[in-house]
Assembly symmetry: D2
Homo-oligomer: 390 residues x 4
């Protein structure tokens, strides 16, 4: 089933205490054939070294910064050298590091949001095109098998023409002024310089719209948005609500919040078409509801043969049998699975099977930045509808 | 517990085949001390007579029209005469009949929406004030005990200052062009002359905003709305989405649809405050979720002593013990309970206990019409925010 | 749709403060064409009179006791006379009153359990046969439309041959010594003389096994039971657990409890066959899960056209459209609907449509008593299996 | 937080195509500081070699069989040598391999059931005692943080004295004669020689009773069991139902099935005490319901601070923040976390923190075998109750 060799992986960011970097490393362990060989994990080289030790890495491949990483790795022969590098640094560094890595011939998997500005995103599209490197973006929620099943149901026409898309993304971890308590995750997110100008709109809203476009196959054309910062003294929005127009005439509602008291990571989507609807909730990711017009609701349960029989993509994204719950790690692992198989195909000069290409890429990153740009423009506009500049 | 005598009830509308009229009659049976004595049920007197027969009514009190009803009932002595009349006719008749009944000294309970225009609504406010009759409006969803519990939680400050209100009202019964098949319920609702100009915005959106204002205690100040008619050939919106501003600075999202394939009568509300959130779903009305910031979610279950101990209003609205599911009829019955006790108090020249006054009234009806007016204005506006005219 | 005239109903028991009597009266109001005309409601005639007044009954038909009721009603002409009488007295009186009423030519609807002993139950079967009166037993849970749908799924073979039946009935209202606080409902239930010897086994266990046999179409042949009284000083079991053998070789598990802290009226059933399973929960009665082997779970939702298209019995038992929750009252109303239509057919010398006969009858009552008898025998036996004496 | 060095892990079994071995390897990757260095993975050495290659293992440490593993590993210095070995072979080999490894001074983590007979289990208890090696048993369901929270709630007295324990474990993967289709997982499980004599009673029943005893802190004293093989031609039970007595007088119900059509891996537990109840479902493992008598149900959600504040064990078992779903892998990882920290403490001659000792051990394995022995004895007995021989 596996083709080709184990890939060598590097990482920029993800130092001690960084949440998402550790998740990346563990997710990678769930798919196999990827070996973390080194990185520049922390702005403080001592911290980086310490982490490298805990991870049993060769100290010579734990670098002081990503510049050194590029320089030294390029001195290693292909096959020993890092095949791809994961970027898990604060948002403001994404673009620069990704660009440098790509131009130095590394494949790249980057945390979202891809860049801070639309212009950077367009530039990165060009860099990827020019360098012909594989670029993956970690919109992990599209890695869930039931999300892939949903996408296939829509594209197979089970729902008919799509009319309405509702996405909710509710959290409560910023319901108080956590950023003033020294919590690092909170601090950089509410700082416009590090997190970008859009607050929760970019931080979690991009996940939400990526999910909506991924499943529905539609593209947003207009936004009507409002952004609010509810917590006193906060500069960036902790709550965002949008009306959306899609390219086929469908209408959308998006509401995201980081002050929704009592909610953990409550991302959910409802899509309604002429013939049926679907509903999926990230906090119970192992089921997907299909609601055919005029028939019983169907609850499709991950891991069953009938799921894989219907959707190759969902089957491929499945790690455990039915009834053995999967979660967040597995979804991220699936993104890595498809990304790494595509990298491997390229290394072997093989053509990637279309199913391998099912991971968020630089175009999705550009869509995300366009969304943020349009969101901010709409939030400042007195006009109801702000079109996407494409 | 009961005070005073059994009330005599009349009904205008609710003839054979009319859905809601029959529901009213049955709901009334769940509370006792109200006796339906007659009515003008149908535009076709023969149909009216037939229904009277089925209901074991005295044929002399089954009238040809509401004019005859008023005239003949006034000839009966008080105590025998109808104490109040329920109005269940198409929307365009609500105002006129209500006005005439009130001015003829009858108390009135009217289906929603109260009128077709804001002007009529204002006029009716004046009529009620002048006649000093009791006027009830059937926003039945506020009759659910767990809704009353939610209201009390908010007003007691359990949620802290309210920041966000999300309301969803999804149905699918108009997902196809049902109005072209001769279905009467569908036909009048999509006809601007009978149903009003706002389609699903008025038909179910008014329920949704009434619920939101009832529980939250907030008032909407601005709407940003869009209305869409998805089904080909339909004149009125079958889908409506709004952003909302509330008077305390809270933000709201409202999305209602009658083309949400696979949904029955999926009305749900989420309210988030500084200290906690609540969630309630009409299709599972016997539970209310309270989500305190930083603590476990609490599922309050109708009928338990701890519910009544917390909320008199919820306790009073409870018809059956815990675990014995209540539903739609009981919610409507509770509206009648409070309305009829208020009528009875007035008849006895007693002061109504504040808890009896907990039913939707003429002011709620005016709010509903203001909502519809603002919704239509916003939907036609290119400006983002349309303020409520108050 | 309705055939024939409104039936006159009487009631023995159900006086002020009696829970279930009032539920009967209100349930009857939900179906129409039944009019409560009188009764002997309370052992204290003054209480009876008072209730009659509240119910607007003719005082001459509020009787001192059921003997007087029989005597005086028989003096009225048929058509004015009570057509049937509902019995809502403590269990120990069921047999005697039912027998006398039947022999005096009244149709009877009786609360469960039908009698205190199997012998009485057998006698009552004979009385019903001899008098040719209609006898209904209030196992209200079989009145839920989704229960009827489940029964039809099983009998249509959608599940294949049945292999396993699990029933749970968990309550907590007797988790403390409530009977010592003067609570009447508790007091008679834990008194062997009034409630029978089986405690929760009879009180709620009979509902559970009736439900299981009703849906599955199977008959229990053997029990292996244990009964426990957990609350100190209580004579009757407040917890009961059974293994069951059914006549086709299927196995069953039944566990009922009135000390299951935190549970309201948590009756649920799971039936598994060769081709699929079903699950139904009384506290969320508007849905039924069908679990086909090898396919998605299907959630059938009450009130939809596809339910009525599949099951006439479920369609007929439906009072409100999809999404408008029904509950306990409606289930009981459906028992009355079928019972009363059968009575009406007999009055009109018509043949009852088989669908009207779908209500618990005297044979079900005998099954209940056999269950209690076998339960008690098994609980006292050291043998694993105790067969039903048939 | 981590103490000491990375442990070297070996594995016996878990060759290509073996489900659970791969799960072990991936679970280990989620906790860090454990490195798989070699093993004897398959009865076919070529398969073993192939897997070693895929896992990037040093080929010299991929052994032909476990005997060679022991011999060769012992030639390596401590620190380089495997610190512990995981056993993932068919059940009939567990005892022998575990014994040999322990006696050769390796710590051992073994799949369940621990042995085939009670005698072997007693022997292994002695071996563990004598060798003073650490022995872990993979009852992975006790690794879920919400299970640990439940255990702490019970031991803290939140539920009061326990009265009733209900456990359900329903699957459907053996609903048809899968073993005749060549499916290996099915084939060995229904073969008495490889899987043991108890069928689903041992295969999944042991998990269920381990979970019940773990959370409740109670010990079973008597069983009343029946075993059934529903699928034609099957020798071992695919369905098992038990009544249970616990040492404090509590009563239990256990029903497990592998023919419950439509169920995946539906393990759920309800425990009721004098003051409250709890409910936990393995298929939605991130929540725990606490049902205090007389108060709202509380839904505790994994990953929140309030969970860790209440229960150190649950906090320690948590891998991801609230709302980021965990599943089966993480539960197994937690077993490894505690097991490996205990091994590490022993290596460092440190005293293991009691919280590290929270993993299933050889005594749990013996309890499992006693359960199976008692289950089989009871199933063959005509007596209702069969006591545990202790």
């Amino acid at each position: 089933m596996k083709l080709g060799r184990t890939l060598k992986m590097g990482m920029v960011g993800g130092g001690p205490g960084a949440f998402i970097g550790e998740v990346h490393r563990k997710a990678v362990g769930l798919i196999g054939q990827i070996e973390l060989v080194g990185g520049a994990f922390d702005i403080d080289p001592a911290q980086s070294k310490q982490l490298g030790k805990e991870l049993n890495l060769n100290p010579s491949r734990v670098y002081e910064n990503y510049g050194e990483l590029i320089k030294k790795e390029l001195q290693l022969p292909v096959g020993e050298r890092m095949d791809f590098v994961t970027i898990c640094v604060p948002n403001n560094w994404h673009f620069l590091i990704a660009k440098d890595l790509l131009e130095a011939d590394f494949h790249v998997l980057c945390e979202k949001p891809m860049t801070l500005t639309t212009q950077e995103a367009r530039d990165l599209v060009n860099v990827v095109e020019k360098t012909e490197r594989i670029f993956g973006l970690m919109h992990n929620y599209t890695g869930y098998p039931m999300v892939k099943l949903a996408k296939d149901m829509v594209s197979n026409g089970d729902l008919g023409e799509i009319r309405k898309v509702v996405v909710r993304y509710s959290q409560d971890w910023l319901a108080t002024a956590l950023e003033k308590t020294g919590q690092k995750q909170a601090a950089w997110r509410v700082d416009p310089k590090q997190g970008g100008a859009s607050g929760c709109g970019g931080d979690i809203g991009t996940h939400a719209v990526n999910l909506a476009e991924y499943i529905s196959g539609l593209k947003m054309t207009h936004l009507c948005a409002e952004l609010t910062a509810f917590v006193e003294g906060r500069q960036l929005a902790d709550d965002a609500n949008c009306l959306i127009k899609y390219d086929n005439g469908a209408r959308g509602v998006l509401h995201v919040s980081q002050i929704a008291a009592g909610e953990g990571n409550n991302l959910a989507i409802w899509i309604y078409g002429e013939k049926g609807g679907i509903e999926w909730n990230q906090e119970e990711p192992n089921t997907l509801q299909l609601k055919p017009l005029g028939g019983p609701v169907q609850v499709w349960m991950r891991g069953n043969d009938y799921v894989a029989a219907y959707s190759d993509a969902a089957g491929r994204a499945t790690h455990l049998p039915a009834g053995h719950p999967e979660g967040f790690y597995e979804a991220m692992a699936t993104i890595y699975l498809n990304f790494s198989d595509t990298v491997r195909a390229q290394i072997m000069s093989a053509k990637a099977d279309p199913i391998m290409l099912d991971f968020p890429n630089v175009e999705d990153g550009l869509r995300g930045m366009l969304f943020i740009e349009t969101l901010l423009a709409s939030a400042e506009s007195e006009q109801k509808w702000t079109p996407f500049k494409n």
